[in-house]
């Protein structure tokens, strides 16, 4: 602070500007002394700002970091600009240096005068001039930065799993321990889900003292974010309950497409047409597949890829299931002729090859077609050589596609997560975050994510569990991003533009006050909302208009 003539007290900023020589990489091209002299010569243009400008060999080296630390302390720097390499290389290095001093790391900036200056500009004079321009822009900008502080949040390590099928039960088992409760919420009256067979985990889940099972119950409301969700449950008998948890795993499973949807397949109630999942269930329960009149069919056709065309995807598991079923029928009733009709065989992995071998060995007839249609009990097969053939069977088993469960839409709305083009829950990132969603703390397991095998379902479930186990560690706190958006309430009109563009659901409408509210724990700081707000009511910390404008103005001076 310094006293001025007017009696007002003004802040004096002491901005340290440190230029890294980076050996010949910077100093060999850029005349650092000239840069320093140029900037110093104009230092009177900053009001109440003292500039400290130095150069150093390698600021990122051990001694360099120590030098910088000492300089910050000795000069009592209030702001720091380091002109060196790309922030990708050493931004965090120098933030770390600041953190060892009283200087808030967010009152520092790195200027890239290597990758985007000395290395790409041929002429040394031009590079020198350019470096000075960049540095001036950053001095101007750093002066408008403000201190930011990390705010660690307490977390609740418990998890809610929606859906008691294979994926849901696997997730529950993978999570439950004395350190963590799991709430397993199932819509129907029993566990097991859509697999139609008794899952081996069922007993373990029921006996697990750390898993609370809610049957005939659905999620009715949810608020909160990773580590702190409040979830409303509604049971079939109308009872409401509220539970709290740190994460939500969606394992609601899927449905099968209607085989007649395509128009290429038509049959009546009385025809012996049974979809694959039904046939599997019957075979599992009864040990054979009989016609409605109780007799054994002499010929059965399993038709692959029913619904692939309409749904626009290959479910990836039907070929395997179809061949397995075909082989099982042959094994259980060798007198039944079984034909598999397919377009492409999609049997990835060693298991797939085994299934195909089993089917062949058990005498299943395999017919490749370009396309198949069904009318009543008669298949019209379009062969690969261009001919076609009509064949009748006693029983026909279409392998229907896996489609999203009916609840997907309402749950997605409740959790504010998007659906993909096929109506399944959309993952946060197809590759790098396939089990996550845009709502942090909400994860997707099993066929709620898309068609997949039981094994893949369980892997997804374990991946969800993995996310929870590693992110919600009992006793540890989580540190949300600090360079996030804040709202200037007086400027906000509550128009909702920001809500519409935010994919993370980080902004809520406070309808009572007629404004938008940012949940800083959820915001990732991209700034899209900021650019959507005509009122200037939003401000992304560290990327404010004022900061960016000043940098631009300086650079163009």
């Amino acid at each position: 602070m310094s006293e001025t003539g007017t009696g007002k007290t003004e802040m004096t900023a002491r901005v340290g500007v440190y230029l890294c020589e980076c050996g010949p990489n910077i100093a060999g091209k850029i005349d650092l002394d000239k840069v320093m002299a140029d900037i110093l010569s104009e230092s009177d243009r900053y009001r109440n700002v003292e500039l400290v400008i130095r150069r150093y060999g390698f600021l990122c080296s051990g001694p360099g970091k120590q030098y910088l630390e000492d300089e910050i302390k000795e000069n009592g720097l209030t702001h720091l600009v380091v002109a060196a390499c790309s922030p990708r290389d050493h931004d965090s290095t120098f933030m770390g240096v600041c953190a060892r001093t009283d200087l808030n790391p967010y009152l520092y900036r790195i200027v890239n005068i290597r990758e985007q200056c000395s290395w790409v500009i041929t002429d040394p004079e031009e590079a020198t001039e350019r470096a000075a321009t960049y540095i001036r822009g950053s001095i101007s900008r750093v002066l408008r930065q403000s201190s930011l502080f990390e705010k660690p949040l307490e977390i609740n390590p418990d998890a809610v799993v929606i859906g008691g099928g294979a994926a849901g039960m696997e997730a529950a088992l993978a999570l439950s321990s004395d350190l963590r409760r799991v709430f397993l919420v199932e819509k129907s009256a029993s566990l097991g889900g859509g697999c139609g067979i008794t899952m081996p985990q069922e007993k373990a889940v029921i006996e697990d003292p750390n898993v609370d099972i809610y049957l005939e119950t659905q999620m009715s409301s949810v608020i909160g974010f990773l580590g702190n969700f409040e979830i409303g449950l509604k049971s079939a008998d109308g009872k409401d309950e509220e539970i709290t948890a740190g994460a939500i795993i969606l394992a609601i499973g899927s449905d099968y497409s209607d085989p007649q949807e395509s128009g290429r397949i038509s049959f009546s109630e009385s025809d012996e047409v049974h979809i694959l999942a039904e046939a599997e269930r019957t075979l599992e329960a009864a040990g054979d597949l009989k016609l409605r009149d109780g007799t054994m069919p002499e010929t059965i056709a399993v038709v692959h890829c029913v619904g692939r065309e309409e749904q626009g995807y290959c479910s990836g598991v039907c070929c395997s299931s179809s061949l397995k079923l075909a082989a099982a029928i042959r094994r259980l009733s060798p007198e039944t002729a079984v034909t598999s009709v397919y377009r492409d065989l999609c049997l990835p992995g060693a298991d797939g090859e085994n299934v195909l071998r089993m089917a062949r060995e058990s005498g299943v007839e395999l017919i490749r077609t370009k396309g198949t249609s069904l009318s009543g009990m008669e298949l019209d097969l379009e062969k690969m050589d261009g001919t076609s053939e009509k064949r009748s069977f006693d029983m026909i088993i279409p392998a229907a596609a896996i489609v999203p469960a009916a609840d997907t839409v309402s749950l997605a709305e409740m959790l504010r997560i998007p659906l993909d083009e096929h109506g399944f829950f959309k993952e946060a990132h197809r590759m790098t975050d396939p089990a996550g969603t845009t709502t942090e703390g909400v994860f997707i397991a099993g066929t709620a994510h898309g068609p997949m095998s039981v094994m893949s379902s369980m892997r997804f479930a374990r991946a969800c569990a993995g996310q929870v186990l590693t992110r919600l560690v009992p006793g540890e706190r989580i540190v949300p991003e600090v360079k996030v958006t804040e709202i200037l309430e007086a400027y906000c009109t509550g128009c909702g533009n920001c809500l519409d563009v935010c994919v993370y659901g980080a902004i809520y409408a406070d309808t009572d006050r007629g404004i938008s509210v940012v949940n800083e724990a959820v915001c990732r700081g991209c700034g899209n909302c900021f650019a959507s707000c005509p009122s200037g009511a939003l401000r992304t910390r560290h990327f404010t208009n004022e900061q960016i404008f000043r940098e631009v103005d300086e650079a163009l001076r």
Partner: protein, 145 residues
């Protein structure tokens, strides 16, 4: 502080580069020592969707001969859909410039991925040349507020 040692002028191109793709692409151009003119003034932002069209107007009125906005390719946004919004906002701004008879070629949007160092250098070179042909931004002559 414009270098005037060449017969023709050195354009100043304010470049808003998203942290994840185009800034990284620009870095890669550097790592590969791909040379481009001194015209580019990079401003790093988290996402191209942070770039309010007003930034571009501001840079234009502050005397940028060209304004370049770099983002991840559509579909690749680190924040899911940010660059789709960017694209619409940019299209609107271009249209505004055209309708008012302002030189909309002084605004450029380019999708540059993190591995496209050569593309960054190429865009820089070509755009600089294009701007050089257009001449200095008339807003260089006086301060527009």
């Amino acid at each position: 502080m414009i270098s005037d040692k060449h017969d023709d002028f050195t354009p100043r191109i304010t470049s808003f580069l998203c942290k994840w793709c185009s800034y990284t692409g620009a870095d890669l151009a550097g790592t590969n020592r791909l040379q481009y003119p001194t015209s580019i003034i990079p401003i790093q932002v988290m996402c191209s969707s942070r770039v309010d069209p007003v930034f571009l107007i501001k840079a234009f009125l502050s005397g940028s001969d060209g304004v370049l906005m770099g983002g991840c390719h559509p579909g690749d946004c680190h924040y899911e859909t940010g660059n789709y919004h960017t694209r619409r906002r940019f299209a609107i701004l271009k249209e505004i410039f055209d309708s008012l008879g302002l030189e909309s070629d002084r605004l450029k949007l380019s999708w540059i991925s993190a591995s496209e160092g050569p593309k960054f250098a190429q865009v820089s070179n070509e755009y600089t040349e294009q701007i050089r042909k257009m001449g200095k931004n008339p807003t260089r002559k006086s301060v527009f507020l």
